[in-house]
């Protein structure tokens, strides 16, 4: 019997689990995917918003700016890449200036610190590659960029270090109310628990409706993105166009790893699993982005992707005990700025749990720090020398584009919440994330996964266990094996 089962290991479920792991509780996280942070949390703009655009009377407005403040400590503890690079919302005419003034005023209400409205000259000094027609901009220095899926992975790893359990490829198919709490039915058997926290992203309404009357609905809103190669000297801040009814407007931003990310558009879709990119969305992104800067080298695109915003008909986060279901807490409608707000949201959820349980008891031995990961590429020459001496696997470069070593991959597999697939290795170490997109390193990564997990090459998937990479041994290889066996 669990005290709490958390459904969904996106950033909501992951970070809430980490915060609850401070207490004496038996907690399980289940996710239908083969890795944590494998849905919306891996397909977004990865921006920690300053918090000036959400309305102060909404939960989005209430949690964004306070959440933003907490990232320095959290990212230090969890060893997650995070940079406060500041954001600019660009204005090109008098209408835009009004919008920007409104955003500024709203930001004051939300207690966003250090905002300034800049004029053309200063903007172009900060960002020489922007469209010279820019007239003004809202500058928010507290906005930052984060490694979004690293954040989820690190949160779950730290939660597991502190006793939380994780079951992947475990899909919740039904929930029954019991006198002890709830019985959760999954493709991998039943789980009994006193409390449930529903963090199922675009499926949060479906999960809610398993225990109580439908009282909200989630409609996915798709956003397409381009990822550009590293080493392009394009922008140093997060660049927004003025918001429209289609969301915060297309963004151009550096990523924590030095790529450039451009997107998203915003289109309601019916299919909750539809993260396919589409031509019209990508075209819209390109057109809008070129308004911000004419200097974008679209020939340096290395990947496109799309993510789904979990838009609720309340047009706000829904964070509460569900109507008509005691001990069942919804964290739903968790669209942007979910990533930015999650630290504050998690505290709020802890408070809800405090009330429901009549008081949680702190563990004595909670360790807030995750063991640091080594990023060989970022070490100095001296450090590189030393670390290879200690562990020669650091001298074996597996991914040439991102300079990832065998030792880093082995570590990513053997930690708590370790990698089980080629994609999971990519998310943890960046092997395969670069300009050749794994063309060179994927055979090597498979070899290491197979060795460390004691599996055959053909059993190593790209992502889910159904996403096989290899079908069988070649005829030639089979003959070789037969003859080796004396056949």
């Amino acid at each position: 019997m669990y005290d709490i089962v958390i459904i969904g290991a996106g950033i909501a479920g992951s970070f809430i689990a980490r915060e609850l792991s401070r207490f004496k509780l038996k907690i399980l996280i289940v996710d239908r995917q083969n890795d944590v942070g494998n849905e919306t949390t891996e397909a977004n703009s990865a921006i920690i918003h300053a918090g000036y655009d959400a309305m102060a009377d909404q939960l989005k407005g209430k949690f964004n700016a306070p959440g933003n403040k907490m990232f320095d400590t959290i990212c230090d503890e969890l060893d997650v890449p995070f940079k406060r690079i500041g954001s600019l919302v660009l204005g090109f005419n008098e209408d835009d200036r009004k919008t920007i003034q409104n955003l500024y005023n709203n930001g004051l209400k939300n207690n966003v610190p250090d905002m300034r409205i800049l004029e053309k000259d200063e903007i172009l000094q900060m960002e020489p590659k922007l469209n010279e027609d820019v007239v003004c901009a809202l500058y928010a220095p507290t906005a930052g960029i984060i490694g979004a899926w690293e954040f989820a992975i690190a949160s779950v790893e730290n939660a597991m270090d502190n006793g939380v359990e994780l079951e992947l490829e475990t899909e919740v198919t039904g929930i029954e109310k019991e006198n002890f709490g709830y019985r959760i039915y999954t493709n991998k058997g039943e789980k009994d628990t006193k409390y449930i926290i529903n963090c199922a992203g675009v499926y949060a309404d479906v999960i809610n409706n398993m225990v109580t009357e439908p009282y909200f609905s989630i409609t996915p809103r798709k956003g397409n993105y381009y990822v550009l190669d590293k080493g392009l000297d394009l922008v140093n801040h997060i660049i927004f166009l003025c918001p429209t009814d289609k969301g915060k407007g297309v963004i151009i931003t550096p990523t924590v790893h030095g790529n450039i990310l451009i997107g998203p558009d915003s289109e309601f879709v019916n299919d909750k699993d539809s993260t396919a990119t589409d031509v019209s969305g990508l075209r819209y992104v390109k057109e809008r982005a070129l308004l911000s800067s004419k200097a974008i080298p679209f020939n340096k695109v290395i990947r496109t992707f799309a993510g789904l915003r979990a838009h609720s008909d309340r047009n706000d986060f829904i964070i509460e005990e569900a109507k008509g279901a005691k001990g069942f807490i919804n964290v739903a409608g968790f669209e942007s700025p979910g990533l930015s707000a999650i630290p504050a949201v998690a505290q709020y959820v802890v408070n809800i749990m405090q009330k429901l349980t009549g008081g949680l008891i702190y563990k004595d031995n909670f360790n807030p720090r995750r063991r640091k990961t080594v990023c060989f590429n970022l070490l100095s020459d001296e450090e590189k020398k030393d670390i290879i001496k200690k562990n020669p696997m650091y001298g074996n470069i597996i991914c040439r584009c991102e300079t990832v070593t065998e030792a880093e991959i082995v570590d990513a597999i053997n930690r708590n919440c370790g990698a089980r697939s080629v994609k999971a290795v990519k998310k943890r170490t960046r092997a395969g994330m670069g300009r050749c997109q794994g063309g060179f390193c994927s055979p090597r990564v498979m070899e290491i996964l197979a060795r460390e997990l004691g599996k055959d090459w053909t059993d190593i998937p790209y992502d889910s266990t159904k996403s096989y990479i290899l079908t069988e041994e070649t005829k030639r290889n089979q003959q070789d094996n037969d003859s080796k066996m004396g056949g």
Binding site: Y226, V227, G231, D273, T275, A276, T277, D278, V279, L282, V301, I302, R303, T304, F305, D381, K384, K385, I388, K389, P392, M393, Y394, G395, N396, I397, R400, C401, T403, R435, C436, Q437, G438, G439, F440, S442, P443, W457, T458, P461, Y462, D463, S464, K466, S467, Y468, I469, L470, T471, E472, E473, T474, K475, R476, N477, D480
Partner: protein
């Protein structure tokens, strides 16, 4: 610090030929660095026949061709390190490299030869719409899985791009029992060698759809199908021409890109048309004493040309070390005009040209019965009749030194003249 006269980066056919040639020209301390677990480069996965027709006058497989050079390298006692990745090189010719055995190495060279080869363009680069399941491979990666690691990558296959690797993989996968449904090419002509179209597609009844592209990828976990469509003259899909294919694999053979991260970081000038370094008659980059050859300079279809070009680079590096290379003096630029996509080399110091100057170029389109017109400044100095030229086949032109020495000029241009 370790020091060498010449350090060669990359142990493929280019690096091997350059190292051997430099030794034959009297350089003692040469080191070849290769990141893979064996020497030979991309040839080790090309188990088909068709290498060496020019150089050895016989048809070898890729590994056989490589083996001849590896054997020679070893018999000449040239130092080499495998499993060794070069991380950076600097303008003053220090090389930073790592391997598990020697750890982090800093090596000082008098001259460097860049021979890092190329990598493949990926699905991301061409932004094919749709899902991102497993089962989308670049042709070279699939080739590595099949020929080196010994595993099949799929059973029903569509191939996008008719470059040589794609064509060869169509045949290879068919022989391994997979069904290759079609090869789809965006351009109105194939970028591959004619002999490969005949031997790899026609002989196996695999259809080639020219002026077509893949417009959608379907499948959640693994590829379940792709949609192809005809494209118009602007290469945009024509609505209504879509055909759906059930397949589990999409192979991409959509181009190769010279692997020049090291070159760029060192500060050498890159030619936007080749994506390789700008080189002179000696295959020297814009950094004095840093030479380059093979696919890192421009993508070759025939390894024999790689070998020839690399010998020139090795010879030049030897001369540089021996201070026999003329550093300045008369120099002219070579420029590609109408119909030519690029020419190697981009600059020439005539004093370093022996008896004749070798030029390698590619045309932009398929041409029949045209002339290549070569001009020194405005004056035509040579015309060459061409029965047939295609972007997929590299052209080799030889100009005698006498012809070039007659007068002084600044610009040598080459263009295609049609309608003859």
């Amino acid at each position: 610090m370790i020091s060498y006269d010449i350090v060669v980066i990359g142990g493929g056919p280019a690096g091997l030929a350059a190292a051997i040639e430099a030794r034959n020209y009297g350089v003692k301390k040469i080191l070849v660095l290769e990141r893979d677990k064996e020497l030979g480069g991309i040839l080790q996965q090309c188990i088909h026949n068709g290498f060496g027709l020019h150089i050895f006058k016989e048809e070898l497989t890729g590994p056989e061709y490589a083996e001849r050079f590896i054997t020679e390298l070893k018999s000449l006692k040239i130092d080499y390190k495998i499993n060794t990745m070069v991380l950076t090189i600097t303008k003053d010719k220090t090389i930073h490299a790592v391997n598990p055995k020697d750890g982090y190495m800093v090596i000082q060279a008098k001259a460097i030869v860049l021979a890092m080869g190329c990598r493949e363009r990926t699905a991301g680069a061409i932004s094919i719409p749709g899902t991102r399941p497993s089962g989308v491979f670049t042709a070279g990666t699939a080739q590595r899985y099949i020929n080196v690691e010994g595993y099949m990558v799929g059973r029903r296959v569509v191939i996008l791009g008719s470059g040589d690797i794609g064509l060869i993989m169509a045949r290879r996968m068919t022989l391994e029992g997979a069904k290759v449904l079609c090869v789809v090419e965006l351009m109105p002509f194939s970028g591959g060698l004619t002999r490969n179209i005949v031997q790899c597609l026609n002989d196996f009844d695999i259809p080639l759809y020219l002026s077509h592209t893949v417009t959608n990828i379907k499948g959640k976990d693994r590829v379940e199908g792709v949609t192809i469509a005809r494209v118009d003259e602007n290469r945009l899909p024509i609505p209504g021409t879509e055909i759906d294919y059930d397949c589990d694999t999409l192979l991409l053979s959509i181009g190769l890109i010279p692997e020049n991260e090291l070159t760029v970081k060192a500060g050498a000038q890159i030619d936007m048309r080749t994506n390789g370094p700008v080189v002179n008659e000696s295959m020297e980059t814009t950094i004095s004493g840093v030479f380059a050859c093979g696919n890192v300079v421009h993508v070759h279809d025939l390894v024999d040309f790689v070998t020839e070009e690399s010998r020139r680079a090795g010879r030049s590096a030897a001369k540089y070390v021996q201070k026999k290379l003329v550093e300045d003096g008369n120099e002219f630029k070579i420029e590609a005009l109408n119909g030519i996509s690029y020419i190697i080399p981009q600059t020439v110091r005539i004093d370093n040209v022996d008896k004749s100057l070798d030029l390698y170029l590619r045309v932009r389109n398929v041409y029949d019965r045209v002339k290549l017109v070569i001009k020194a400044d405005q004056e035509t100095i040579k015309e060459i009749n061409k029965r047939h030229m295609a972007p997929g086949e590299m052209e080799h032109i030889v100009l005698s030194k006498d012809l070039l020495q007659e007068k002084s000029f600044e610009r040598l241009t080459i263009e295609v003249k049609e309608g003859i």
